[in-house]
């Protein structure tokens, strides 16, 4: 059944493009009028019934474990000074199976140089507050030898031997020093979310604190516990 507008269109036999477009324009105007009329009468005009079933997209919250937070404690051999306890915190992000980024913050306190010990109580090269040794660094790590540890007949833990390298700051003797850190470590994973580490690190910086400027090697040997979440 044709309505008024269709009737207009069906009756027309346009001979040129211009006529066609005029007709189309007229039809549109008429259609708009019709829609307006329909709105006025309160009935919606259903032109085409959509044949679409909406896609249901659900975002599953899969528990992921990328971050590792932990504490460490050990010994730090401060070049030209003594070997002292060191402790600190670490945070890591495991980007892939092979690579991770790690941030460390640690502190220690230097003892006496051999010169100070031999020279007696009157000779002090640094004040007590300048003996504080604090450092932080950003390291990139590579799990070079992933593997397993066969602890006993029934206990097997995942493990990895890894390399780290990076840069950071060491505040010692009242000075800030650009520090390059390289090291190795061994990680044992007793549970999916807990790990134990043993780390060996060399913190290197140029220092002229007590003698001519030289590259000092400050060796850290520490062990730590971290949790994944």
């Amino acid at each position: 059944m044709e309505n008024r507008h269709e009737h207009v269109l069906l009756m027309a036999h346009p001979t040129s493009g211009i006529a066609k477009s005029i007709m189309a324009g007229m039809a549109l105007v008429a259609l708009a009028g019709n829609v307006g009329a329909a709105e006025n009468s309160g009935k919606p005009v259903q032109v085409i019934e959509p044949d679409i079933t909406p896609r249901e997209i659900t975002q599953a919250r899969i528990d992921s474990e990328f971050f590792e937070l932990g504490v460490f404690a050990g010994v730090l051999s401060i070049d030209n000074f003594s070997t002292e306890p060191v402790y600190g915190v670490s945070a890591a992000f495991h980007a892939t199976e092979d690579f991770f980024l790690q941030f460390n913050y640690g502190m220690s306190e230097a003892g006496l140089t051999s010169f100070e010990e031999l020279g007696g109580a009157n000779i002090r090269l640094l004040t007590d507050s300048d003996r504080d040794y604090t450092f932080y660094n950003f390291l990139v790590g590579y799990n070079i030898f992933p593997g397993e540890v066969f602890f006993s007949d029934k206990l097997t833990f995942n493990s990895a031997f890894y390399l780290v390298a990076g840069v950071g700051n060491t505040e010692f003797g009242g000075e800030n020093n650009f520090t390059t850190t390289i090291g190795t470590g061994f990680r044992i994973v007793p549970l999916d979310w807990v790990t134990f580490h043993v780390d060996f690190r060399n913190h290197m910086f140029q220092s002229d604190l007590i003698r001519e400027s030289q590259l000092t090697h400050n060796i850290q040997l520490s062990t730590g516990i971290t949790v994944f979440f």
Partner: protein, 265 residues
């Protein structure tokens, strides 16, 4: 529509910025966390159907760990957790193991739609991603390092905040800056980018050197570099920048090389 195509066109993988903030918020509660870490929100674990002829289950999340079970085409898999690019899954028979994410990319949801684990070029998945990292470099003769936090609102444009230190022989400098990174090409794993930024420098004389006063300086940086993407969320970048630094009436041109490690989520 082929399955591969469907996989490509589905939504981006979910990201975990919330977990990052959670990470920092949790630092003081570490001791408590040690006792309670595995507690998670109770939600039904997602289940997908395997499309490949089979997928392999490893004993641990790593390529070298032995395969002890396979899940065949058409079977259901429950996704339990994710660690780097590995998923811990449970087969319908009850075995639990680890599967590489690329294998799980070819699976179907119960609704028949492809599961959303797409393998796309990095430009697409980096949109609206966060990225953190650090750089090490050399400004003229002085070593430097910085920490960067960035956000990428568009596939080709990112913004980055940077805080770093420069170690000159007589002064150390703390600097803070903001950079815009333009990275329009994503076809290759090595991607060129352009960078422009503004930085402020504060100077601190080293203890043994006496200098009258050190005013702050500001600088405009222009640079470019190459990024190399390792896997889905690890980026190594090599960068060269030219700074125009001005303090009071003086200004100087400085150049800097940088190598950066970034990760994004």
């Amino acid at each position: 529509m082929t399955v591969t195509k469907a996989v490509r066109t589905t939504a981006r993988p979910k990201r975990t910025p919330r977990q990052l903030f959670g990470a920092f918020a949790m630092i003081p509660w570490l001791v408590i966390a040690l006792g309670t870490a595995p507690v998670r929100a109770e939600e039904p674990t997602p289940v997908v159907e395997v499309l490949d002829p089979f997928i392999e289950m490893h004993t641990a999340p790593g390529r070298g760990y032995p395969v002890f079970h396979v899940i065949e085409h058409g079977e259901q898999v429950e996704l339990l957790k994710r660690k780097t690019n590995w998923y811990k899954v449970r087969a319908s028979a009850g075995e639990t193991g680890w599967t590489k994410s690329t294998q799980l990319g070819r699976t179907l949801q119960p609704s028949g739609l492809p599961a959303d684990l797409p393998e796309v070029s990095h430009g697409q998945y980096l949109e609206s991603s966060w990225r953190v990292g650090f750089t090490a470099g050399q400004l003229e003769q002085s070593p430097s390092f910085s920490l960067t936090v960035g956000y990428r609102p568009l596939t080709w444009l990112g913004a980055e905040l940077e805080a770093g230190k420069i170690y000159n022989q007589s002064v150390t400098s703390d600097y803070y800056g903001a950079n815009l990174i333009i990275e329009p090409l994503h076809r290759w794993s090595v991607t060129p980018y352009l960078l422009t930024g503004y930085s402020r420098f504060a100077f601190d004389a080293r203890q043994k050197v006496v200098l009258s006063s050190l005013d702050d300086a500001s600088g405009v940086a222009l640079g470019g570099g190459l990024g190399y993407y390792i896997g889905r969320n690890f980026l190594i970048r090599a960068e060269y920048r030219v700074y125009s630094v001005s303090s009071n009436s003086e200004s100087a041109g400085l150049s800097e090389w940088k190598i950066g490690m970034n990760t994004f989520f």
